[in-house]
């Protein structure tokens, strides 16, 4: 067992999460945003597993939640990408800032 301090893992996942947030905030391409969201979910998963490993919860709990997160992420990716494809078919663009009908 490699004993890293828990805080290091947490900070690592925090930075990963922040990078994901950055991508979600600044990417113009909707697929890019989706990719960034996957990164964020990933960071959350690391936290779940780290907590379940380091604290005295049942070790399965965190892993199972991570499992659920992965499953939900897969559905999110599938539905999101389907929406992107529908959007592309209708508007011929996948840039988030070209899809701005919903304003004012």
């Amino acid at each position: 067992m490699i004993v890293l301090p828990l805080s290091h893992i947490l900070i690592f996942s925090l930075v990963l999460f922040a990078i994901g947030v950055y991508g979600a905030l600044v990417r113009r391409n909707i697929i890019g945003i989706l990719i960034s969201i996957e990164l964020m979910l990933n960071a959350a998963n690391i936290n779940l597993i780290a907590f379940s490993k380091y604290t005295s919860l049942s070790p399965e709990t965190g892993q199972i939640f991570a499992l659920f997160v992965i499953a939900i992420a897969a559905t999110a990716a599938a539905v999101g990408l389907a929406i992107v494809l529908a959007l592309y078919r209708v508007r011929k663009t996948v840039q988030a800032d070209e899809v701005n009908l919903l304003k004012w």
Partner: protein
């Protein structure tokens, strides 16, 4: 064997660094395909971190589902929407500076918080072994209801995806 332990520790840090570099690649590359590849690399790296945290089962699932399925899906979508030889346009919108500033604040704040918090790390928990068997039992016992709900969600997503992405009869673009 302290040397091995130290090596493993630094190896872990190295993996973390590599993951972060790839993550940066995900958000900064202009070519979306490269982003997707970087994502795959970052996800595989995360699987390594899972192994370090003794969650081998989850590591395998991570690779199987994320790299095998999600990334493939994303690449499919990229191939369907991107022109193969097209020039990649400006990839970032104009709020990146603001985002960076906000994020730096966010990271510093939370990092200080993390460092300050006395985490209830217990040695017994660190020693505990978790088996695949236990995971399966928990999944089929305590968490059977969420598990079933997930299956319903997956079905719903499947149908929804097909409905959304299906080609309708040709009609005028908006």
């Amino acid at each position: 064997m302290p040397i091995l332990e130290i090596a493993a520790k630094f190896g872990t840090y190295a993996v973390m660094a590599v993951i972060l570099i790839f993550a940066l690649g995900v958000v900064t590359f202009r070519n979306l395909f490269h982003c997707a590849l970087c994502l795959a690399a970052a996800l595989i790296g995360t699987a390594v971190i899972y192994v370090v945290l003794q969650a081998e089962y989850l590591a395998a699932i991570q690779i199987l589902l994320y790299v095998g399925a999600v990334v493939t899906l994303i690449i499919f979508a990229i191939m369907l929407t991107e022109h193969l030889a097209g020039k990649t346009a400006r990839q970032n919108n104009s709020q990146s500076l603001l985002a960076i500033v906000g994020l730096l604040g966010f990271v510093t704040l939370l990092a200080t918080l993390i460092l300050k918090t006395p985490w209830p790390v217990t040695p017994t928990a660190l020693q505990a072994k978790n088996s695949v068997m236990g995971l399966g039992k928990a999944l089929m016992g305590t968490y059977v209801f969420p598990f079933e709900v997930i299956s319903i969600i997956l079905i719903a997503a499947l149908i929804g995806t097909v409905v959304i992405a299906k080609k309708d009869a040709p009609e005028e673009p908006l």
